[in-house]
Symmetry: C2
């Protein structure tokens, strides 16, 4: 039959990353595409032990839970935040199915069709998907290595009166950059004055490279405001523990959290409480900080390997950043190159990346690409970069 | 600050059941409110063993998974469906965070603000929440013990041109009734003719009471149509295995599934793949059908106990059904009684139920209540019914 789909269905565009992920799962392709953590570093034994503790506590572990999430885990996250100088209570926190769901729920309680959301240029493509599927228009603000351009932000806050400004200030997806402290404070001040709420997406904040003197305070921590924070902060255990547990959290003013919980009731009642209880037991009985420290060093080594390989290629007209943390290199190729086209050649040669165009709210810069360096091991990265080099031969002028 | 919430936020009303659930978790209240399974029957050991099998299979068990859900579990569900005479392929199936999420995702791909959804009277209150939060107007169709009134359905299909007709034909929530075969076929025919898609919610289908000769074919199984089924079917492992694993599934034409998967990408990328893998191992290595048979008998015994206690009370002017399966009794009290008011007295006396008014799309019949009989054990049910009797004393005329 002809199914009477909604008009807004057209806005649910499928994510290129996810489609490529599907492809690469079924073939022997070296993938620099997905934002996947290194599997060999997952704390499998610790997860297994934590799960046994959950079940040993009794049958009620398998019962329905609270929409807001397992209270001991929320308390546990509050204690971890405290150590970072952020004071937050369980009433100001909601557990979600990854931070992706936090973005969706927050958008659902804030956005009416036609509303504008300001974003970085480029920004996380699945956030763009969420915004569009909720009827919002994403408009990008210019920026540089230090963060959003304050003048452009001020003009666009004035022009569009956005309800939400969506940012990834610390080890951005896709660019890997980290905002300066000055820029963080400037964005906070401008948004508060304009009455816009900042959605701070921070999945990578704990994956910091370089020495320990380099810290990047979250916008949320800089805005412990007596009359209610203008920052909604979300993060996840997907990168620090494992993605399969699908547990993220969001911290915000309790009024926002209560409304997000109402939206979550309708969306799925609650996320897996088995995963939440497992994470709680893991945090309480395992050296998670030690594990994160280990992963951080490993990822920094992989980043350095890829940086060296990139330098060796001497591709004419290709530039990139050196990420300060997170999971990605961001490459800019000569203007004539369309990386979406290039991807087809690359996949034939057995390597995948994400074409950069999908990360733009408007006017996609098609000569860009995102490379993940955390998922592929040492040998695989060497082979993958060779294949990528082959693919590039056809489009780069020598 | 004053947060600029969306206009549609007003429609995210909090579910009375969930609010009561919160209350009863923190107090020593005997609750006939939530639709909770009996904790003492959860297959805890089998879940533990299944989880160990998952982790033993290697680190990739903790990696990101497919939006559509863990393929071996989808194949496993297909095999279970086959045994029930339903032919379905993994491409026609999506795994969700409980069947609640299936309702939400399907609504999101079908409904534009202002669209009408036809529902039963009364119907599942959290479905009403989803429909309203997506901007739909729910309109109820009259019915009786055998199902929807076909004449009223025909008129309302004509009048409202709904895209979706939402039904729970087998052991309804809240009424516990099961539609006749004739009525099932009639509804199918009318909806197909009108081009409306039926959303068949079937969380309780496997919790059938009485002898084995009583079977209730799903609408989905009755509509294996060459040009695409007009039925979208959703069910869950929450009642047959355990709610904490939060795993439901939806079966529909692959075109619908593909669109729901796109919506799910934006909503949360994918549900817990650890839960999905655990369920797969459980189904493959555990006698799930034997377990369901056991639970079914236990719930039938609990239902009979509550039926006897209800008869003993001899409350004047109070009538009820005898459920044919599922989890609920549905009581009608004298017209002057407002059960939402009665609940306050009841909770003070240490017993909870769900006031019936919340289950209506419009014109709530406030003298109704839903009683769950699966969660409370034998002794607790006796005490709870005594307390309920006390609460009712104040409002029932002797």
């Amino acid at each position: 039959m002809n199914y009477p789909f909604s008009a807004r269905l057209g806005t649910f565009s499928s994510s290129a990353v996810r489609e490529i992920l599907k492809l690469t799962q079924s073939k022997s392709i070296i993938s620099f595409a997905g934002g996947l953590p290194a599997e060999e570093h997952f704390p499998v034994d610790a997860v297994g032990e934590a799960f046994q503790r959950v079940l040993a506590a009794g049958n009620s572990a398998l019962q329905y839970g609270l929409t807001e999430g397992y209270l001991p885990l929320r308390e546990s996250i509050c204690r971890r935040m405290k150590k970072k100088g952020v004071t937050v209570t369980p009433e100001a926190m909601l557990l979600t199915t990854g931070s992706q769901q936090a973005i969706d729920l927050f958008t659902r309680i804030m956005i009416d069709p036609g509303d504008v959301i300001l974003v970085e240029r480029p920004t996380y493509l699945s956030a763009l998907q969420v915004f569009r599927s909720n009827g919002a228009t994403a408009v990008s603000v210019d920026g540089d290595e230090d963060g959003l351009n304050l003048k452009d932000l001020e003009e666009k806050l004035e022009k569009y009166k956005p309800k939400i400004v969506y940012v990834i200030p610390t080890f951005s997806n896709p660019t890997g950059k980290a905002w300066s402290l000055e820029r963080r404070k400037g964005v906070l001040e401008l948004c508060r004055r304009a009455g816009a709420v900042i959605l701070e997406d921070d999945p990578y904040g704990e994956l910091r490279f370089g020495d320990d003197s380099l810290t990047y305070p979250s916008l949320f921590s800089l805005d412990q405001h007596p009359n209610g924070s203008c920052v909604v902060y979300t993060s996840t255990f997907s990168k620090t523990v494992a993605p399969a547990l699908r547990t993220g959290w969001v911290m915000a003013d309790p009024e926002i959290i209560r409304n997000m919980a109402r939206a979550k009731q309708a969306a799925d009642l609650h996320s897996s409480s088995l995963d939440q209880q497992t994470l709680y037991q893991l945090i309480e009985h395992y050296d998670l900080d030690g594990h994160i420290e280990f992963v951080r060093k490993e990822y920094e080594a992989r980043m350095r390997q890829m940086a060296e390989l990139l330098e060796q290629q001497q591709w004419p007209g290709v530039t990139w950043n050196e990420p300060k943390g997170g999971m990605f290199f961001w490459l800019e190729l000569p203007e004539a190159v369309d990386t979406a086209e290039l991807l087809k050649t690359a996949v034939e040669l057995g390597v995948a990346f994400v074409p950069g165009g999908t990360f733009y709210a408007e006017d996609p810069q098609k000569n860009t690409m995102r490379l993940n360096f955390t998922h592929t091991d040492y040998e695989g990265t060497i082979v993958g970069m060779k294949r990528l080099s082959q693919a590039l031969e056809s489009v780069l002028v020598k």
